[in-house]
């Protein structure tokens, strides 16, 4: 006699394995075709390089490929094992069998895990077999790491997929929900920021880099490319996947099986589906339509009709899906819901456009500001650290306030869209307020004269000294300077020669002293985007303004620092 507390049914597991054998067998074949087979071919072929290098190259490729395999396999296997929920006939029959809902869920969930795990395990063994056959040693750990990482990635995606499939009442919405859950944590803030950034000129609302990690498919690629902390991230993702599996199990216990075929199986999910779908349509589709019809060329409320159109399509489209009927226009309650949503959208848009809360217009008083940071560029590999400087002198703070006010005065609602996102030539201002808060803005300085008061700050010796004290690495293996300092040109602009500067030093202290001496003497400003220098000027007079110092910090870690050719002491140090 079966136990009432039984959480697993081997008969159902066996049935799942045999029923879905074509799916997991094909997945296994795919793994073989993209893992052991190319490995065998590359290691036995003449591709150049060592066998070890070839193997490492394949691991790197597979680490990206397996993310996508896990992403799609999770959706496929979750749909297969939970599709019985989507038809009343199968849902009723399965629930009539003598097993608890937990037993059904756990057995199906384990089936879906095994469909990935077993082919992946066999794949790992085959990879090891090929390596052994070709006598490539020391790669077992790499293979198992790849398999383990793939399993953790799969756990994450599978958790999301099962959660989506349990929430949904039919397969199409289940798959749509899966993709949405994977991307919405990142996409939704981006969509919400569209009108905010559009209307609130100057408000710096770039998403922080860590938010990329909210979308695992993006976060994993980002981390694989950037390197570092991958296993921690995988652990977090896998934990999230397990938590979602737990949530799916909990929801499945109270699922109304009669919801089979509905878009969403739970009342709260129906509400969330309608709101999120409408929001995405209002902001996303509205934005696309506004762009297509040229309504984004000004900052009037011309965008609003398109957002409302998107809202209408989203609200009634989602309602049709939820009600499984196109006859939704006669329902007064649905119209009322739309009216409320549209009302909030109109109010929100108008509030942003006319800056109802004074966010766009706000310039803090000098007395309210403890310090202010400005920067014109972020950290870049090829330019070195950001030119971020901190000002505490009330006179400097007042100067920043004037620039701020001037930027606001020159603001025109008809500025092109490029102004909003084109921060490359803009200046970032971050006030640290006496009360402890911060206020960050970014403005594009429209003309050269207006930018010069700020540009001069980047030449002030005490600011430069403070900057280079921070910017210079405390230690390095070696630092090298290589580049042209001046071109010799004929009168008609033909290049006839050039003088080079090059050299390498290994003494951080000597370099620090030279750089700080140049900075203190006013010979080494901070590289920024407001000062006139660069390619255009050397073409005129053969003069070259900037050079790069490359710091070798470790065998795999480097850093650039852009300096000016006026830094004579520093350049002389390298020339020695």
């Amino acid at each position: 006699m079966k136990s009432k507390m039984s959480f697993f049914d081997p008969t159902l597991l066996k049935k799942n394995i045999s029923r879905f054998a074509p799916a997991w067998a094909l997945f296994g074949l795919l793994l073989f075709l993209t893992g052991p087979l190319p490995l065998l071919r590359r290691l036995t072929g003449s591709f150049g390089g060592t066998l070890l290098a070839e193997a490492k190259d394949i691991w790197e490729t597979l680490s990206f490929v397996y993310i996508w395999y896990a992403f799609f396999a999770a959706a496929l296997f979750a749909v297969l094992v939970f599709k019985y929920l989507y038809k009343t006939r199968s849902a009723y029959m399965l629930h009539a069998f003598p097993m608890t809902r937990s037993c059904l869920f756990v057995t199906n969930a384990v089936s879906g895990l095994l469909f990935f795990l077993v082919p992946m395990l066999v794949n790992g063994l085959l990879l090891l077999g090929v390596l052994r056959l070709l006598q490539v040693s020391g790669q077992a750990l790499a293979v198992w790491s790849l398999m383990g990482a793939s399993l953790l990635v799969y756990l994450c995606f599978y958790g999301v997929a099962v959660f989506a499939m349990v929430l949904a009442g039919n397969g199409a919405v289940g798959i749509l929900s899966y993709f949405a859950l994977n991307i919405l944590p990142l996409a939704l803030p981006v969509l919400l920021l569209l009108p905010v950034r559009f209307y609130l000129y100057g408000v710096d609302l770039n998403l922080p880099d860590w938010m990329l990690l909210l979308a695992p498919i993006v976060g994993l690629h980002e981390r694989l490319i950037e390197g570092g902390g991958l296993w921690v991230l995988l652990g977090i993702y896998a934990a999230v996947g397990l938590a979602l599996l737990g949530l799916a199990w909990y929801h499945n216990r109270v699922r109304q099986v009669e919801r089979a075929g509905d878009a969403m199986a739970y009342p709260w999910a129906r509400v969330a589906f309608r709101l999120i779908f409408t929001l995405c349509c209002a902001l996303g589709l509205g934005w696309i339509l506004a762009a297509l019809f040229g309504a984004l060329n000004d900052k009037t409320v011309a965008y609003l009709p398109y957002a409302l159109l998107g809202c209408f399509l989203g609200w009634f489209g989602s309602t049709m899906m939820l009600e499984r009927s196109v006859k939704v226009f006669k329902n007064k309650k649905i119209w009322l819901g739309f009216a409320v949503f549209a009302g909030v959208l109109i109010l929100g848009t108008m509030a942003l456009r006319y800056d109802a809360l004074g966010i766009r217009r706000r310039v803090p008083e000098t007395a309210q500001v403890a310090s202010v940071e400005i920067w014109t560029r972020e950290d870049r590999d090829w330019e070195g650290p950001s030119d971020r400087i901190t000002l505490t002198d009330p006179g400097d703070i007042d100067l920043i306030r004037q620039v701020h006010s001037s930027a606001l005065e020159s603001y025109s609602p008809n500025d092109s869209l490029g102004d909003l996102f084109g921060t490359a030539y803009g200046v970032h201002i971050r006030y640290h307020l006496e009360g402890g808060g911060t206020l960050t803005r970014v403005y594009r300085i429209h003309n050269y004269e207006d930018s010069q008061p700020l540009a001069r700050l980047y030449s002030r010796p005490e600011i430069c000294v403070a900057y280079y004290q921070e910017a210079l690495p405390q230690s390095f293996r070696w630092a090298s300077l290589e580049g042209v300092t001046e071109y010799e040109l004929t009168e008609d602009g033909q290049m006839v020669g050039y003088s080079e500067s090059s050299g390498e030093i290994r003494d951080p202290q000597a370099l620090r002293e030279a750089v700080l001496a140049d900075a203190a003497a006013g010979r080494l400003p901070i590289y920024n985007r407001l000062t006139a220098y660069g390619d255009a000027s050397w073409m005129e007079g053969g003069r070259v303004d900037t050079l790069n110092i490359y710091f070798n910090l470790s065998p795999e870690l480097g850093m650039d620092l852009r300096i000016f050719t006026t830094a004579t002491e520093t350049i002389a140090l390298f020339r020695k």
């Binding site: 159902l12 009723y92 029959m93 069998f97 003598p98």
Partner: protein
């Protein structure tokens, strides 16, 4: 014994079952009748543990059914629209049932399969609807359940197949005393097999009796009265109609009492004819404008 007490269930605000109570005695063959939308399938899905009640209880032999595999392992269910795993054949399904139902009898399954002459290797989805139903009966009965729940079991089957299916069912009842709950909107079908009947309308149980109670208490009389005589006032006539000189009256009461009363007025002719189950229901509920009439007739 199946006991349903004060069961309520609503779907999106629509009240499908309204404080419903019913009792299916152990070993009974209980016919659950009602028009489409009365709530028959909803009751059955509660009794088989598919639906979770909004309120009320559903027990089998005193044990709640919902989320209770021990109880459910003694219940076999044949829905109106049978489901098999896609691409499964009868052997596959039998293996699954054998692993799921602890009392599954492989020998009985083989015997029944041979008697039904169903190909065990053909995919069930390629079977005709009748053959799929036969397969469902076969699997259900081979599971040796204590309770067999059938939702419109012979709907869509031809008369020969109906006879075969009912025969199989009654044989099992006779041999093992299985409790059977069978729903139908066709009373004619149930009359020959049920000993208890419950009539459901708009989520409520209108009437629940044994078949004997029902049929013994109402009599159809065909009478030719002498000139100047009337039916006795003591008889409770539910309905009367006249064709020529022959009057047909539906009278509440036992056969003996009605016969004695009619004999007392010395008619030219009278005869007591047994009522069909559907006639009993029509006249029992005659004063009520229920759609039940449509169901029965």
């Amino acid at each position: 014994m199946i006991e349903v007490r004060n069961l309520r269930k609503s779907f999106d605000g629509f009240l499908a079952l309204d404080d419903l109570s019913m009792t299916v005695p152990a070993g009974a063959v209980y016919g659950l009748v009602g028009p489409n939308g009365a709530g028959k399938s909803t009751v059955i899905r509660h009794i088989t543990g598919i639906f979770r009640p909004d309120s009320g209880t559903v027990t089998v032999d005193g044990q709640p059914v919902y989320e209770n595999p021990t109880v459910k392992s003694g219940i076999a269910y044949i829905p109106d629209d049978v489901f098999y795993f896609p691409s499964a054949n009868l052997t596959d399904m039998a293996k699954f049932y054998a692993g799921t139902y602890p009392n599954f009898d492989r020998k009985l399954y083989e015997e029944l399969r041979r008697s039904f002459n169903l190909d065990p290797k053909s995919q069930l989805r390629r079977f005709s609807k009748g053959m799929q139903k036969q397969a469902a009966f076969l699997l259900a009965i081979a599971s040796r359940p204590g309770v067999l729940v059938l939702d419109e079991p012979v709907d869509g089957l031809d008369p020969v197949m109906r006879r075969q299916v009912w025969g199989l069912l009654l044989q099992d009842v006779a041999q093992r005393g299985t409790t059977v709950l069978v729903s139908s909107h066709n009373l004619r079908e149930l009359e020959d097999v049920c000993d208890h009947v419950g009539i459901l309308h708009k989520g409520k149980m209108l009437l629940e009796r044994t078949l004997d109670e029902l049929q013994d208490n109402v009599v159809k009389a065909q009478i030719v009265l002498r000139e100047g005589t009337e039916l006795p006032q003591s008889l409770k006539v539910l309905h009367r109609s006249m064709v020529g000189k022959v009057e047909t009256a539906i009278i509440r009461g036992s056969q003996e009492a009605v016969s004695a009363a009619l004999a007392a007025v010395n008619p030219i002719f009278y005869d007591l004819v047994p009522l069909t189950l559907e006639e009993v229901f029509v006249y029992e509920l005659g004063g009520v404008d229920y759609e039940v009439k449509n169901v029965i007739l």
